[in-house]
């Protein structure tokens, strides 16, 4: 049986293509293996020298890094990134000096102006690792446009212990209130306000009207956990207005923000607790009973006692009775009281 010439030609072409692809694949694999080998060699050299110098009083970073090849410098940067994230103390301080000697800080400052966001985020991450402060104006002009860069810039202010980290960092984070913060942004808002949430309270006074409900809930959560001893009572007015917000989730979060502030009589007097326990949403009423339990004064106890008798929702009534029981009031009957006493007896 004879094979036609076109079929033979086609077979040859396919075979040639397969051989070609095989050769290219092999070539690439060899090239990649060689590159990996060179990289591993560079990493080994750099690592040994780095650890040795790290233990010296005078590491001599300048003289050493001048001698490094491009590949070695790249490996060193990668290693430095991991070590700076995991270490503190003397070694970290020396690694920061190394990073600055390598010009990473300078490069990162320049990269803040880059168009691509991942380059700017990388620059902010390096600046935070090296604890290199950046002027407020520069941060604002390069980072205000995107929530990711705003959060990273706020974090940088915090790690650099910037004197206005609380005010400026908080402003950056909630700059555009149309969407909630990322987990990183929320954590940064928390750390910026941990020692005192007055900057967030003041920011809310001027901007909360434009904030998305999800952001309002996040802000209330931060305010619930962070103290504010120096803010005047008026600074809470916007937060008090949230107690009547159309969203029950926001109302509930706002109640939570007031629970830890019962020590301020002026603030307590301005909150209409009667209205809170009359809310149509059971979740809001439950939060209100939690607030009254935290306050624990005479009027709060009276409202809890009323709820223990007349609250229709079982869960809400349980919260009220439990609060009374924990505050030393044990004067009711019915199945909720029996439940709470049994809970108390079993610890």
């Amino acid at each position: 049986m004879s094979v036609s010439a076109p079929l033979l030609e086609a077979t040859r072409a396919v075979l040639a293509a397969l051989v070609g692809i095989g050769l290219v694949t092999y070539g690439l694999a060899v090239q990649r293996a060689r590159r990996d080998e060179l990289r591993a060699d560079a990493r080994r050299r750099v690592r040994g020298e780095l650890f040795d110098r790290l233990g010296r009083e005078e590491p001599g970073w300048g003289a050493w890094t001048e001698r490094l090849s491009h590949r070695e410098r790249r490996e060193l940067r990668e290693l430095l990134d991991g070590l700076l994230r995991n270490l503190h103390g003397r070694e970290r301080a020396r690694l920061v000096d190394l990073g600055l000697t390598l010009g990473i800080g300078e490069r990162a400052r320049a990269d803040l102006g880059a168009e691509r966001i991942h380059v700017r985020l990388r620059a902010l991450a390096w600046l935070a690792l090296l604890e290199e402060p950046v002027e407020e104006e520069r941060l604002f002009e390069t980072c205000a446009g995107d929530p990711r860069t705003r959060a990273a810039a706020a974090r940088l202010l915090y790690v650099c212990d910037h004197p206005r980290a609380g005010e400026f960092g908080t402003s950056l984070l909630v700059w555009e209130g149309s969407r909630p913060l990322s987990v990183f942004g929320l954590d940064t808002l928390y750390v910026l306000n941990r020692a005192g949430s007055t900057p967030l309270l003041y920011r809310g006074s001027t901007a909360a009207g434009d904030w998305d409900p999800a952001l309002l809930v996040q802000v209330c959560t931060v305010l619930r956990d962070c103290p504010s001893t120096d803010a005047p009572t008026e600074a809470f007015d916007w937060l008090r207005a949230l107690l009547a917000h159309e969203s029950p989730t926001v109302r509930k979060a706002a109640i939570g923000a007031f629970a830890g502030r019962g020590w301020r009589p002026a603030l307590r007097e301005r909150i209409d607790a009667e209205a809170l326990v009359a809310d149509s949403d059971p979740g809001v009423r439950e939060a209100a009973y939690g607030l009254l339990a935290a306050w624990g004064d005479g009027p709060a106890t009276a409202l809890l006692e009323r709820a223990a008798r007349g609250e229709e929702n079982d869960r809400c009534r349980l919260v009220a009775v439990r609060a009374l029981y924990e505050n030393g009031v044990d004067a009711g009957d019915g199945r909720t009281w029996a439940w709470v006493r049994a809970e108390g007896a079993t610890g």
Binding site: R47, L83, G89
Partner: protein
């Protein structure tokens, strides 16, 4: 410390692992490094007998707590000093480490120099 003291470093981050090994070696410890919890357990089963262990809490294979529980259940290693390296500020992790039988802990970010000093005190 003499070279007779054998320390097992179990850490998956190679930069941190190599740095710890380097610092321990220049402090005259004999060091074995492992990057995976399951490998660590295999080494122990195969007869590796360290005098002390530096154990990262977050490991691939088997996490540090599981490795520690297995170590403590092993007749030969029940009393070997173990320092746990846990995530930053996570009290639960620290408590869990102590409950599993850790002798000491450091939280990341940590100071390698401090860790070596702590290890020295435990091995005294």
């Amino acid at each position: 410390m003499s070279e007779d003291t054998h320390v097992l470093v179990v850490e998956d981050d190679d930069g941190i692992r190599d740095l710890l090994a380097y610092k321990l070696r220049i402090s005259d410890y004999e060091v074995t490094t492992v990057d995976d919890g399951a490998d660590c357990l295999d080494h122990i089963e195969d007869g590796l007998a360290p005098d002390a262990v530096i154990l990262d809490a977050m490991l691939p294979g088997a996490d540090g707590y599981e490795v520690l529980e297995r170590l403590r259940g092993h007749e030969r290693h029940a009393d070997v000093p173990v320092i746990m390296v846990t995530g930053m500020g996570l009290e639960d992790n620290v408590l869990r480490g102590f409950e599993a039988g850790a002798d000491d802990y450091v939280t990341k970010p940590f100071s390698p120099s401090e860790l070596v000093v702590r290890l020295g005190r435990l091995c005294r």
